[in-house]
């Protein structure tokens, strides 16, 4: 027998346990129930509620199971008179100050205190004195506080310290005057903040958007996958009738553990927003008409048919990487069936050079759990904390275990762990910085590199930071280099990737891509690309990429869940292309004024909650889900809408009865999801970019990434949205005599826009940071590049 194993007896049952485990872990594992409030398996033990008291033989008094380590031969009774009496007394104490307002409490029905009071509470209170009252605090748009109900378990406080990495809630005062709160009036800002709603065992912290909208026992729980970041967190949708009322995490140790980001939790609000598109619509002589599906399809057949007959390459499709695998597959099948290869799901990318030699899909480089084991991580162009919050959480765990995280970023983002070192430079200088790190890595490893790369990096200087980064990667075990969202969207993405690739080879580090959307992987694997077919096969005739699709001003566009003027790399060019087109067919769950200006047909499709299908996440794991609620009104799942469109246009091979049949077909083609980012690194670039003058940086705030998040009211009231300002640092502001009360004139690509000014010292010198997807900046153009600013007289 393993000498780490010991035996204990609980309620007469012999149980084997690991040495050092806490009693409650052992009983939980063996389905023996011990009541608790403060204990949570993902948090440190506080042992402050005393609800878990049990009777341990030879101990003079009851012991808390959550903080009593098991010992060989221990005999425990969870149901003896001593144990039950102790638990009942604790319950009596807890209820002294609790308001017992269950009938008006949202937690009612799922409240740990209510449940346990049923079992351990007495019918009559012996307490006649006044109960304490705590004034509620406003801690932001997502979390409702009713702090009179708080039982001071401190789960929410420990969550901030240990998981969110950001201590925002605390317990101030003492004794009876102890209160949970932020002390000063302030909103909590953690991107994981909503998890305290689940952690709070009582109704002290509940969901603000959900407040008073349903009782828990009216809700039915359905499983699905969160449709935003590339993690694909597992979630439960809580449904009343046909309405999604709220979202909570579904446990999956390999992916999101027990957590989800606020974006995944609150984006459901958009499902029922006023912007929902409920019926097919067609614009006739400039006037929108609500029509039957068949009429809309006939219209498409007539209008699109004519364009296709003439020249199929005049059709281009922009599809969202948050569509299901089935839908991405059908989109490209439809387009290719019509004779066009102009399809792309890489909407925020501009550098497509060498796309042919890229791997099967931008893989994370390792699995999500592997992050915890990394010793050194080099992030290039990434605000991982906001872009992939769950990966950031794993990364934070690695740092707590001693890993060094190093970053190369165009904005000095706030991390919730300390960075080993960082280099914050203008976008163009990111390339030369990386070249310097590469040169340092060459020196360290003494290995040969391709002559094209060698030529590129000759003469670049090596500073302390470069050396340090190279050394950490070279000397540590289990290291990874990650290219984030800001790398993918960078004008020299290919070069960044190549340099990173060579560094990874020299330092024996893994190379990973943090992809942007929940099904970016699925988009690549399903062939929603101009140069690849499903399964990654090369396309004999390469179509136009997303940037060319826009730049070429085609006659007809097919948009699936994309709002080009907000979602594309060059918003202005995208907007112009749409306005200029003869025919814009849009499959969308939502409508907007802007879209109605340029589109000709609007086809209502389902949101994620109303849809069935599969997502393939960043680590290449396929997750399937079915719909939790039916699509609203006349809306159809996009796969059905695409299928009907194809059939009506006479494209063969679209006789699918369910999304399952499509799934089988595409999975069969994909065969094995080969996870490999290996490339033979070389370059045909001969010199490092040298750009002088002001440069634009564009980031997409976490709650602006797709049509859904942009319409989730509560998320829009957080700080993680676009503010429509230009962000410049103090020195640039002084140089241009700008302050936050001024308006600035911003010029880019011959356009001029007036914008508010935000002094933001995270932005490096000579750069302007703009947050994407804000209506005020659509006219401006490309996400990166030269830009000019000037103080506006007005």
């Amino acid at each position: 027998m393993d000498d780490k194993k010991i035996n204990i007896t609980v309620d007469g049952r012999e149980i084997s346990a690991d040495k050092g485990q806490m009693l409650i872990e052992v009983t939980d594992k063996n389905d023996i129930y011990i009541p608790r409030f403060c204990y949570h398996k993902k948090l440190t033990v506080a042992a402050n509620c005393r609800m878990c008291l049990v009777d341990v033989e030879k101990a003079p008094k009851p012991l808390p199971a959550c903080s009593t380590p098991v010992m060989d031969g221990m005999v425990v009774r969870t149901q003896s008179k001593l144990a039950i009496d102790a638990q009942k007394s604790v319950m009596e104490f807890l209820l002294i100050n609790h308001p017992l307002d269950c009938p008006i409490c949202d937690q009612g029905g799922e409240c740990e205190l209510q449940d346990l009071a049923m079992g351990y509470g007495s019918d009559v209170s012996r307490y006649q004195e006044r109960k304490r009252v705590v004034v509620d605090k406003n801690i932001g748009p997502l979390i409702q506080t009713d702090l009179t109900r708080c039982i001071h378990c401190t789960r929410c406080v420990r969550f901030g310290e240990e998981i969110a990495g950001l201590r925002e809630l605390g317990a101030t005062g003492r004794g009876e005057n102890m209160e949970i709160g932020t002390y000063i009036e302030k909103s909590v800002t953690s991107e994981l903040s909503g998890n305290v709603i689940d952690l709070c065992p009582v109704g002290a912290l509940t969901s603000k958007p959900f407040r008073y909208s349903a009782r828990t026992w009216e809700l039915v729980q359905r499983n699905t996958v969160a449709p935003h970041d590339s993690v694909g967190s597992n979630i439960h949708l809580h449904v009343k009738g046909d309405t999604v009322k709220r979202v909570v995490p579904a446990e999956n140790e390999a992916i999101n553990e027990t957590w989800i980001s606020d974006r995944d939790r609150f984006s459901y609000e958009a499902i029922n927003c006023d912007d929902r598109l409920h019926y097919p619509m067609v614009k006739v002589d400039g006037v929108w008409q609500q029509v039957e599906w068949q009429e809309a399809l006939d219209f498409i057949q007539k209008e699109l048919g004519a364009i296709i007959d003439d020249d199929p390459s005049q059709l281009g499709a922009l599809v969202s990487p948050s569509l299901t695998l089935e839908e991405l597959y059908l989109s490209q099948k439809l387009l290719r069936g019509l004779g066009s290869n102009n399809i792309d799901c890489r909407l925020k990318q501009i550098d497509f050079s060498e796309q042919v030699s890229t791997p099967l899909f931008p893989w994370l480089g390792q699995s999500i759990v592997d992050f915890e084991e990394n010793q050194a991580v080099f992030l290039i162009g990434s605000n991982v904390r906001k872009d992939q919050p769950i990966i950031n959480h794993r990364l934070r765990k690695a740092v707590v275990n001693g890993a060094s995280v190093m970053v190369l970023n165009p904005v000095d983002y706030d991390f919730n762990f300390s960075l080993h070192c960082k280099s914050i430079v203008a976008p163009n200088d990111m390339v030369s910085e990386l070249a310097s790190v590469l040169r340092a890595a060459v020196k360290l490893s003494n290995k040969n590199i391709d002559s094209s790369i060698k030529k590129l990096i000759t003469g670049v200087s090596i500073g302390e930071t470069h050396k340090e980064i190279a050394q950490q990667l070279f000397n540590s075990e289990n290291t990874i280099i990650l290219l984030g969202n800001l790398s993918t969207t960078h004008p020299q993405f290919t070069l960044l990737r190549t340099l990173a690739g060579v560094i990874s080879k020299l330092t024996r580090s893994k190379l990973g891509y943090l992809s942007e959307s929940v099904n970016t992987s699925g988009g690549w694997l399903a062939g929603a690309l101009p140069h690849r077919l499903a399964g990654g096969a090369d396309c004999s005739k390469i179509g136009l990429n997303s940037s060319e699709i826009i730049a070429k001003k085609l006659k007809a566009y097919l948009l699936v869940s994309v709002e080009p003027e907000l979602d594309c790399w060059d918003t202005n060019a995208a907007h112009q292309a749409m306005k200029n087109a003869d025919l814009v067919i849009m499959f969308s769950a939502f409508q907007s004024k802007s879209v109605k200006d340029y589109a000709n047909v609007l086809l209502p499709i389902a949101t994620y909650a109303e849809n069935s299908g599969a997502y393939i996440n960043n680590e290449g794991v396929t997750q399937r889900f079915s719909n939790a609620v039916p699509p609203q009104c006349e809306a159809l799942p996009a796969w059905k809408a695409l299928k009907n469109t194809a059939n009506c246009l006479g494209v063969d091979g679209f006789n699918y009865e369910s999304s399952d049949v499509i799934y089988d077909e595409v999975i069969n083609i994909i065969d094995e999801i080969k996870r490999d980012n290996y490339q033979d690194w070389s370059t045909n670039v001969t010199s490092l970019p040298k750009v002088r003058g002001l440069q634009r940086i564009t980031e997409t705030p976490m709650n602006m990434i797709d049509p859904l998040t942009r319409r989730a009211t509560s998320l829009q009231n957080t700080r993680d949205v676009s503010d429509g300002s230009i962000h410049i640092n103090t020195s640039l502001a002084n140089k241009n005599k700008l302050s936050e009360v001024d308006m600035a004139l911003v010029y880019q690509a011959e356009k001029e826009v007036q914008m508010t000014v935000e002094i933001d010292d995270r932005v490096p010198d000579n750069c302007v940071l703009i947050q994407s997807s804000h209506p005020s900046q659509i006219e401006l153009g490309g996400a990166f590049g030269s830009i000019k600013i000037k103080r506006s007289k007005a």
């Binding site: 950001l166 925002e168 809630l169 101030t172 003492r174 002390y183 000063i184």
Partner: protein
């Protein structure tokens, strides 16, 4: 940031305390730091000062608020410059502290927990035994102990403060 808000003297004092603790446990100096800061700021702490302490010690701000609001020796609202606390715990109570409190309240025209309008006195609501039981009834004024009090003695002590 923190250095501009905290005085040189305060920083020096905090640094002295920091030397006594391991480098990675700077928060150990928080009590000493707050005491010093409060002392320099006419006997109370402001959010700005607590934030500065948090920055200086590399702690989260809320953790400093927690400490400051937990200990009764810290004031987080403006108070009179002379802090008077009459012990009302058991030994002092038996020796007549209730009468002393009443007397002080009448004399100053305020209740415990309040400050006089002229900003001269703060009559603190003392919560615990001040550990001078053998000299009860007793009071503490600005960290100084006065024992075996009588009403006359109290008058004399208070009248001599400025």
């Amino acid at each position: 940031m923190a250095e501009t808000i905290l005085s040189k003297k305060t920083c020096k004092e905090i640094d002295l305390w920091l030397k006594k603790y391991p480098k990675d446990q700077k928060q150990s100096a928080v009590l000493a730091a707050l005491r010093e800061v409060q002392h320099e700021n006419k006997g109370y702490l402001t959010t700005e000062l607590m934030d500065a302490v948090a920055d200086y010690l590399g702690m989260s701000k809320i953790a400093v608020y927690e400490v400051a609001s937990f200990y009764s020796m810290f004031e987080t609202k403006p108070v009179g410059r002379n802090s008077v606390s009459v012990c009302t715990n058991i030994s002092c109570m038996l020796m007549g502290s209730d009468e002393i409190v009443k007397h002080v309240e009448n004399k100053l025209g305020i209740k415990t927990g309040e400050s006089t309008k002229d900003g001269k006195f703060f009559l603190k609501c003392e919560e615990e035994c001040l550990a001078a039981c053998c000299g009860g009834p007793m009071m503490m004024i600005n960290h100084k102990y006065y024992e075996n009090l009588t009403l006359n003695k109290v008058d004399e002590i208070l009248d001599n403060l400025d």
